[in-house]
Amino acid sequence: MADQRPGDVLRGIGEARVSRRGFLAASGFTAMSAYLAACGGSGGNAPALFIYNWADYIAPDNQTKFKEQFNISDENFTYDTYASNEELFAKLQGGATGQYDICCPTAEWTPAMVKEGFLEKIDWSKIPNAKYINPQFKGLWWDPKDEYQLPKDWGTTGISMRTNVVTEDIKTWKDFFEVAPKYSGRIVVVDSPGDVFTAPLKSLGYSLNSVDPGELEEARAILMDFAPHVLALNSDTYEEPMKTEEAVLGLTWTGGIDEMLGDPQYADSTKYQIPEDGTLFWMDTWTILKGAPHLDMAHNFLNFIHDPENQAVETEVNYYATPNEEAKKHIDPEILNNPIVFVPQDVQDSGLLEAAKDVSLDENRQRIWEEFKSSIGG
């Protein structure tokens, strides 16, 4: 009686496993076709370009224009995506170099990438449009000799709120933490340690890059008090809970909030505040990967994208500030004068913005971040 073994049962449900096998076959086919496509691109002499980038980060019109201008067919133009610098770095560390021509890390990640030998030096003679880059974005700590990166766009991390619910006038990170308990369970936070540490450290008056154990311990206390009030850690779609008012307060970037400000349904009740006790200045950069299969085309693209007119299209689609001075002449004045997209010069000069350093491997930060992450919510 009942001597049927689990193994027999598994065999018995062979039919049910067809879908699994079908899935394997399908994914195998996809991988194969991707491989063949890659061979077709690099094997022949047909013009091609493989980009590894954040999602929706190059204006579709510019992609079409570039392909036409350089005679690249659709199958020879690849745009693969990653969701975080951590993911990009892990993929490259796992051996993805040599597959892509261009990637777009946030600037503070590039020194580690150079150290690992992931990046190719840029041949500036092939990128005449680089002359339009505002000198304030050149020679920064992450690339002092401007060898490896071409600035793409830049922005801030700040406080976003739905003013129809949040009535307080929140100006600083200190205010932010003070009102947090009142909006418990309705606060969304980007899933990015560098940005989250900015808030407590700046509210205490420390550098956002601090690795001082004492300062981090103070920041930890603030974060752990704050954690129970957080609804979600969300980097990709933080604007969605803000739209439905499931979240009414946020520690976010500007992209998703700009989208809301551009929508009449939310514009009047949405606000983004650059904290007056200081915040993070970030910059994304174009880099060329070591062993890029299409080195010349990669340079062509970098030059193309910083053509002032093309660059203006980028800003109007992505809502991030361009470092390209000449492009500003072509940008819709409404966007140019939007203080969230282009931080006003007096704020830039005030010393409120601090560039990120690569402190992601600091042990205390990692320990506190894990503790914070596993304590959010009730």
Binding site: P6, D8, I13, S84, Q93, K115, L361, Q366
Partner: protein, 300 residues
Amino acid sequence: MTAGTPAGTSKPPAPARDGPSRLATALLILPAGLWYLFLLVLPLAIVVLFSFGERGETGGYAGGFTFTNYDGAFRNASPFVTSLYLSVAGTLLCLLVGLPLAYFIATRAGKRKTLLIILLVIPFWTSFLIRTYSWLILLGRDGLAGWFVDVTGNDSFRILGTDFAVLLGLVYGYLPLMVFPLYVTLERMDRTLVEASKDLGAGRLATFRQITLPIALPGLITGSILVFIPMMGEYVIPQILGYGQTFTIGNALVLRFLEFRDWPAGSAQAVGLIFVMFVTISFYLWFTNRGRQVREQSVL
């Protein structure tokens, strides 16, 4: 009933085995063997090796030999506990929903049996991610939770970001893996046994306990294990439906490998996970087997 010949018996080799057929056997086993070696044994060996190493300066793995990774992996046991709790609860809920469903389809559905099976499988034709994101809409402010907020006026009511939402997603996602093994065992059940039991005066409950359940047990064990193992490693559902509030071992592993770039620490935690699963499943199998033996003895 075990299929094939027992591996342990070393009697004189069977004369029927001539060269070509042995070659055919070897060739047929080869793909599975290579698969097993290169995609299971070897990666596992690498994980174990890495778990004793040290992190490189910019992350990754840099050789060396140390036990500190294991120290760190178990210092924070809460993700293990969370995953274990979710998996056990999820498996029990799957069983609670799956057993009556499988029983109904196998014994009462009649002509609609095939239709019901197909209905059970159809959701699997859609991407797992899309199905999970659909719950995001159904349970969110534009769905059920929004309705509750409108009715009760409680602005902070929510379903997403709670253990309930995660469990719902888990049960929804893995239910078929529980139903199919149960269905197969119950479908093969000899109905006359049930009649005999009733003829001999056993009530419904006694018949279920003494006839149906023992017959369904192998399917129950298979289904539970099929459901339990992926739930232990589940990352996507807690992340999406739990808003990342439920910090599982899957979240912890992603944190170690992708954010901290600490492959050795991540490997140690992964080995820890394998260990926890090994212990849990061994205990489960021992427990269910023991239950069966005791029952068979008591029947005699």
